[in-house]
Amino acid sequence: MRGLMNKLVSRSLSVAGKWQQQQLRRLNIHEYQGADLMNKYGINVPKGVAVSTIDEVKEAVKSAFPNENELVVKSQILAGGRGLGTFQNGFKGGVHIVKADQVEDIAGKMLGQILVTKQTGPQGKVVGKVYLCEKLSLVNEMYFAITLDRKAAGPLIIACSKGGTSIEDLAEKYPDMIIKVPVDVFKGITDEDAARVVDGLAPKVADRNDSIEQVKKLYKLFCERDCTLLEINPLAETSSNQLVAADAKLNFDDNAAFRQKEIFALRDPSQEDPREVAAAKADLNYIGLDGEIGCMVNGAGLAMATMDIIKFHGGTPANFLDVGGNASEGQVVEAFKILTSDDKVKAILVNIFGGIMKCDVIASGIVNAAKQVALKVPVVVRLEGTNVDQGKRILKESGMTLITAEDLDDAAEKAVKAASK
C-alpha cells in the first residue's frame, strides 16, 4: 500500500517535480511575466519590477523601493540554474541579494550580458531584463502545484508542507506529507477542495481563509489561461501572515494558442534556438538537437523513430522535424532551408510515409529547395505511401544527386555512412 502510494505520488510529481532542471518547452515565460500574470489574478507575489536599462534600474529603486535596504537582483533568462551560473564577462551568479546602493552596479554587470548555466548549454542566454524584487523574510516554505494529471484524467492540486528544493527527495522519504486533491472540472474548485489543500500545506502563520482564497485564485488562473502546469516552489509565508508565491513556473498548452493570444505574445524569441524560431514562423514542428544528420519526416511518431534508428546505426540526429500531414510545398522548402543552414549537419535524411501527405508534394518541395539553396551535404530520401511513384519520378527527373533508400534500415544506414565521409 505504501509502495503504491509512493508510486502514485511520484507519478503525479513526475510532471511537477524537477522542474528547475528542465524548462525547455515551446512556450516558457519569464519569472517577471509569471509574477505579473499571477498578480493580475490577485495572487500574492513579491513586489518586483523588471528593467532593461541602468536608467530603469535607477528609477525603479527610487520609486518602487524607496525604503528597502536590500533587494534581490535576478537575471531573467528562460533556463534554470541561474543562481550558480556564470556570465561570459566573468561575473559570477545570476541571482544576488544586494544592498540598495549596490543594485545599479550589480544589475549593470548582468544587463545585456550572456549568462551560462547548467541548463543553457555552453552558448548561454542573453539577459535582456533583470527583475528587481523585494527581499522577503520568509517564515516557512511550502510546495504547491496544479497540473492536468493523466491518471486522475483532470486537474490535480499537489500540496506539501515542506517546500524549497528537492521536492522529489521528499516524495521518496515522506510521501505522507504530500496531499493530492483532484478537482471536478464541471463543479470547479469547491471551498472544501481548497480547504483540504490548505490543510495539506499546513501554513504556520498565514490566515486560513485568506489562504483558501489564494488557492482558489491559483486554480482560476490555471484554468482560464490553459496552463498545463503551475508550480510554486516555494509557496512561502511572510512575517506579515500572508501566503506568497516566491517563485513560480507556468507552462501553457500550445494547443490553446488560438485562444490565449495575450499569453503567447509573451514569448521571448531571444531565448530560443534561432532554428526553432525560424521553424515556428513556417509553422513547422521542429526541435533542434546537436547531431550531424538532419531529419525531415512526416508524423511525430515516425520522426522520433527516425531519430532512434539513426542512433541505432551509430549516427547522431541533428533535429526532430515533423512536416505533418498537410504540409505545403512552400513549407517543405522552408524545412529544407533550415536543415541546410545548420553547420553541424553533414547529411540529410528525408523519410516520408505518405498517408495524407503526398510523396509528389514532398518531392517537388525537395527539388525546389535544392534550386534555392546550395546543397552542400548528401541527401538520402526514402519515400513510401500515397503517390510514391510520382514522387520517385519527380526526384529522378530533377537530375539531383540523391541517395535513394528502400526502407527505414536502408535509409538510416545510408545517412550514417554519408555523414561520416
Partner: protein, 346 residues
C-alpha cells in the same frame, strides 16, 4: 489485384450514376435489397457487436463532411467500401454532399440514417463540442481525427465520457481505425492494408503505416488497426484495445506501437502479464533518443522528471513477455519470427 479491380468497378459505377448511394463491393446490395434488409432488421436480431469496435456493418456519419479534410477522407472511405451514410455540418442540413445526405446535427443524422458511428474532421476550437454532441446522441463509436484540441477541453470530454457507457471515443489526434476489407474510418492509406491476423494498436499515425506495410509484406496482414492518437487525454487506450484483441479469434498476434510520455504502455504490460495469453505480442517504443523535457510533436510525448521514458516502457513490456524491437524496420519481421517459433505459420 482483386481489390484494385473492385475499386475500379466502384469508381466506374459512381461515374455512371453519381447520385446512386455508394455500394460496397464487399457487402453486395442494391437499393431494393437495402430496403429489404432494413425492414428485415426491425424484426431480426441486431448484428453482432464488432470484435474490435468496427466491422462491415458499422454505419458511419462524418462530422465536418463539407470541409476540406472531411470531403477528401469521406471520398476515400466510400472508395474503400466503408458504409458512409451521411454527414453533419450545421446550417447545411437538407443538402447533399458526395452523394450523401447532410444534416444539421448528429441526432438528426442518427435518426435518419441509423448511423452508429461518427468520424470527426472539425477544427480544434470546435472539436471537443463535436465529440460531446456525438456522445449526447449516444452513438456507439466516435473517432476524432483532429489534432490540436486544447487539453483543458479534452479533460472535460474525458470527464463526460467517464460518466456514461454508451459511447466509445477513439482519439483525438489519431489516424483512425481500420478493419481491412471491411471498414476504414480515418486518414490511413487503405491500400497498404491486407485482411489478416495481426491486431495493431498505436499512438502514432505514420509509424503505424510502417508496421502495417511490414506485416503485409511478411504475409500476415491485419485484423484491425486502431490509432489511439498522440494526446495525453484520449478516449481509448492500449488496455482497451489489447482486451479486445485478446478475445478476438481473428487476431492471432498483437503489435503495440508506443512512445515516450505517460504510462499507457506500462498499463498494457500489466494487463498482458495478468492475462497469461499465448498470442505473440511485439512492440516498438519510439523516442529512445528524445531529449527529456521537450514535447516531441504529440502533446502526450514528453518525458518529465524522469518518468515516461522509452527505457522504462521497454523494460516493463519485456518483463511481461512482449518482444520489443529496437529498430522500427524490424517490426514485421519480428512478428513473423515469433509466429514461426510458435508454430503458428500455416
Amino acid at each position: 489485384m482483386a481489390r484494385q479491380a473492385s475499386r475500379l468497378i466502384q469508381s466506374l459505377s459512381s461515374r455512371i450514376s453519381p447520385h446512386k448511394p455508394q455500394i460496397s463491393p464487399l457487402t453486395p446490395s442494391s437499393s431494393s435489397s437495402q430496403l429489404l434488409t432494413q425492414s428485415r432488421s426491425f424484426s431480426a436480431a441486431p448484428a453482432p457487436q464488432p470484435a474490435v469496435f468496427v466491422d462491415k456493418n458499422t454505419r458511419v456519419i462524418c462530422q465536418g463532411i463539407t470541409g476540406k479534410n472531411g470531403t477528401f477522407h469521406t471520398e476515400q472511405a466510400i472508395e474503400y467500401g466503408t458504409k458512409m451514410v451521411g454527414g453533419v455540418t450545421p446550417k447545411k442540413g437538407g443538402t447533399e454532399h458526395l452523394g450523401l445526405p447532410v444534416f444539421n446535427s448528429v441526432a438528426e443524422a442518427k435518426a435518419e440514417t441509423k448511423a452508429n458511428a461518427s468520424v470527426i474532421y472539425v477544427p480544434p476550437p470546435f472539436a471537443a463540442a463535436a465529440i460531446m454532441e456525438a456522445m449526447e446522441a449516444e452513438l456507439d463509436l466516435v473517432v476524432c481525427i483532429t489534432e490540436g484540441i486544447p487539453q483543458h477541453d479534452m479533460v472535460r470530454v474525458k470527464a463526460a465520457l467517464n460518466q456514461q457507457s454508451k459511447t466509445r471515443l477513439i482519439g483525438p489526434n489519431c489516424p483512425g481505425i481500420i478493419k481491412p476489407g471491411e471498414c476504414k474510418i480515418g486518414i490511413m492509406p487503405g491500400y497498404i492494408h491486407k485482411p489478416g491476423c495481426v491486431g495493431i494498436v498505436s499512438r502514432s499515425g505514420t509509424l503505424t503505416y510502417e508496421a502495417v506495410f511490414q506485416t503485409t509484406a511478411v504475409g500476415l496482414g491485419q485484423s484491425t488497426c486502431v490509432g489511439i492518437g498522440g494526446d495525453p487525454f484520449n478516449g481509448t487506450n492500449f488496455v482497451d484495445c489489447v482486451t479486445k484483441f485478446l478475445a478476438d479469434p481473428q487476431t492471432e498476434g498483437i503489435i503495440l506501437i508506443g512512445e515516450i510520455g505517460g504510462t499507457a504502455e506500462e498499463d498494457a504490460a500489466a494487463l498482458i502479464k495478468e492475462s497469461g495469453t499465448e498470442k505473440p505480442i511485439v512492440a516498438f517504443i519510439a523516442g529512445l533518443t528524445a531529449p527529456p523535457g521537450r514535447r516531441m510533436g504529440h502533446a502526450g510525448a514528453i518525458v518529465s522528471g524522469g518518468k515516461g521514458t522509452a527505457q522504462d516502457k521497454i523494460k516493463t513490456l519485456r518483463e511481461a513477455g512482449v518482444t520489443v524491437v529496437e529498430s522500427p524496420a524490424k517490426i514485421g519481421v519480428a512478428m513473423h519470427e515469433v509466429f514461426k517459433q510458435r508454430g503458428l505459420l500455416n
